[in-house]
Amino acid sequence: MTGAGNIEAWPQPTRAAMVRASLRVAAYPLSFAILFAALLLGTAIGPAAIGPDEVVRVLLRHILHINVQTEATADTIVWQIRFPRVLLAGLVGGTLGYAGAAYQGVFRNPLADPYLMGVASGAGLAAALVIVGPLPLMWGNISIITLAAFLGAVGAVALSYTLVARVGGVTPVSTLILSGIAISTLAVSATSYLMLTNGEDAIAVLSWLMGGFNDSSWRKMWFILPYTIPAAVVIYLHGRVLNVMQLDEQQAQQLGIDISRTQVILLVAASLASAAAVSVAGIIGFVGLVVPHAVRLVVGPDYRRLLPLSTVLGAAVLILADLGARTLVNPGELPIGVITAGLGAPFFLFLLRRQKKAYL
């Protein structure tokens, strides 16, 4: 049966293969439905009860410029407070989702997340420096913390990469990972030192580090959009290439892929986008790690599906987590990380326990 050129009959697809195929088809409409529901719930629920019909009217009036009657207070709450917050949470969650998937793909490592090369620790150190230092926190309309955090994030990744990158050759991903860990550890310890020696500002630094959306605004949206949209496009277009890169560096090159160039393109895109996300929302953990894994467990490893689905579900997850953060305790807010990790970790463990086969 193994003779050269001997064409065998094609086997019928198994039941498991058919279930997998239908999950893949259903995954898109299902994910978008979840995202849509999260958007509506996030906008409708809050201290002031506003009915979903009113929410829809306000959104129609502002987005589609349809002239419908809206109640003035509800209009302000929905359009100026809740909707920007929900959208920002969605953008940050979506960014962390696809950036996490891209990092896992480039590094061929299930532990990779968007913070692996120093995005979070670099942003945290820069934000801490601004908070404890003499710089004003705002300069006119511009948040110095956001700008500094962005530069710190990008700087840390650039340092992690350039310190070990091999000119004219391929840098092994394990070397890049270790370099990222070294730079991150350095930045985290510097941040801790700043917090210890500036006791009066330590709480402010800590609250920035823990992240959240309680001072969301349309301005922050405009800050993240120019990074996350182009980065998403660039990364989505590399879906097929990312699949080939799951072989190993040698085989990917022998199949015609310029590994070092592709690595740089993907890391620059994913890092810029997650740097923008971190600088507007602080360090929100677990989403960029777990969402791509959860998607992979359901639809398989193909990056052409994994990347967009991680975006949509990352957005939905963070909108719902933020909803929990601001409604579960009263008065005040829970740190959003408590929700993402507190609910995300058990859910992820549940998925892992159900899984009989290795999947990454």
Binding site: M1, T2, G3, A4, G5, N6, I7, E8, A9, W10, P11, P13, T14, A17, R108, G168, G169, L237, R240, V241, N243, V244, Q246, L247, D248, E249, Q250, Q251, Q253, Q254, L255, G256, I257, D258, R296, G300, P301, D302, K357, A358, Y359, L360
Partner: protein, 264 residues
């Protein structure tokens, strides 16, 4: 006649250690050239260097008379396909997914695999005797089945030159013969130039048109199996004395003495 693959004075070193010292070798269209030699003699390095995965110090490789150093990765992958030594395949992908990856050098950046690519991939799987594995996950296949999938991936590349690094290492004798027959068909009927690193000297003798014996990063002998696989060459390359039987098969059969290095 222009060789399909020509290696001209290739010199490769890792730091101060020379791994290939000025190798000259040519593979013609429609020919299977076997590469034999002891562990660490540079066979794998030569295959990696030909595809520019390992950089070389001096020399040049020509594929269809075109210098490899001037080609992009993609252009190179359109001309040379490689079956590397066993490496783990990525988890969760089906055999068909992996074979379709062989179409990468023929697809534009924004292009997806079309019906043609699927047809080529399925045909390659069938040729490699792995049609039944198409929908199976590669991480659940045996080592030998995985090797056949990787061979199918190289076939799906549809290149004029095929490099194989121990393609039969994990195969039983039946599958070894099937792969050997497939490789000979590719060369003799389809004009592919094949360079195959092989450990088993008898298999090299029986399945290759010519054999090159490597030792210590250099070429010791080259010629038909009869010319290259002599008692003297094998002793110089491997440091063991063997018997070479000429009457048992159409090509020499190499048999160790019991106890290996003990000479008669």
């Amino acid at each position: 006649m222009t060789a399909a693959l020509e290696i001209r004075g290739l010199h490769v070193a890792y730091g101060a250690r020379t791994v290939l010292s000025g190798i000259h070798l040519a593979v013609q269209r429609g020919e299977v050239l076997g590469l034999v030699g002891p562990n660490g003699c540079g066979k794998t390095t030569l295959i990696r260097a030909i595809t520019r995965v390992t950089p070389w110090r001096s020399g040049e490789v020509l594929v269809g008379n075109v210098p490899v150093s001037g080609l992009s990765r993609r252009e190179l992958a359109q001309r040379i396909a490689v079956v590397p030594q066993m490496t783990p395949l990525p988890i969760g992908y089906s055999a068909l997914d992996v074979v379709l990856m062989g179409r990468t050098p023929h697809l534009g950046f924004l292009e997806h695999e079309g019906a043609d690519d699927y047809a080529i991939a399925r045909e390659a799987l069938a040729r490699a005797g792995a049609a039944a594995l198409a929908e199976r996950r590669v991480d659940e296949l045996s080592g030998g089945e995985q090797q056949n999938v990787v061979l199918a991936r190289a076939l799906a590349q549809r290149t004029p030159v095929l490099l194989l690094d121990e393609p039969t290492a994990h195969l039983d004798i039946g599958h070894q013969m099937a792969v050997a027959a497939l490789v000979r068909t590719l060369a003799h009927d389809h004009g592919v130039a094949v360079l195959a690193a092989i450990h088993d000297l008898t298999l090299a003798s029986l399945s290759c048109d010519r054999v090159a014996v490597m030792a210590g990063g250099g070429l010791l002998a080259e010629g038909t199996p009869e010319q290259a696989l002599t008692v003297e060459n094998i002793e110089r390359a491997y440091g063991v004395r063997v018997r070479v039987l000429h009457d048992a098969a159409p090509a020499p059969v190499i048999v160790p003495y019991s106890g290996g290095a003990i000479a008669p």
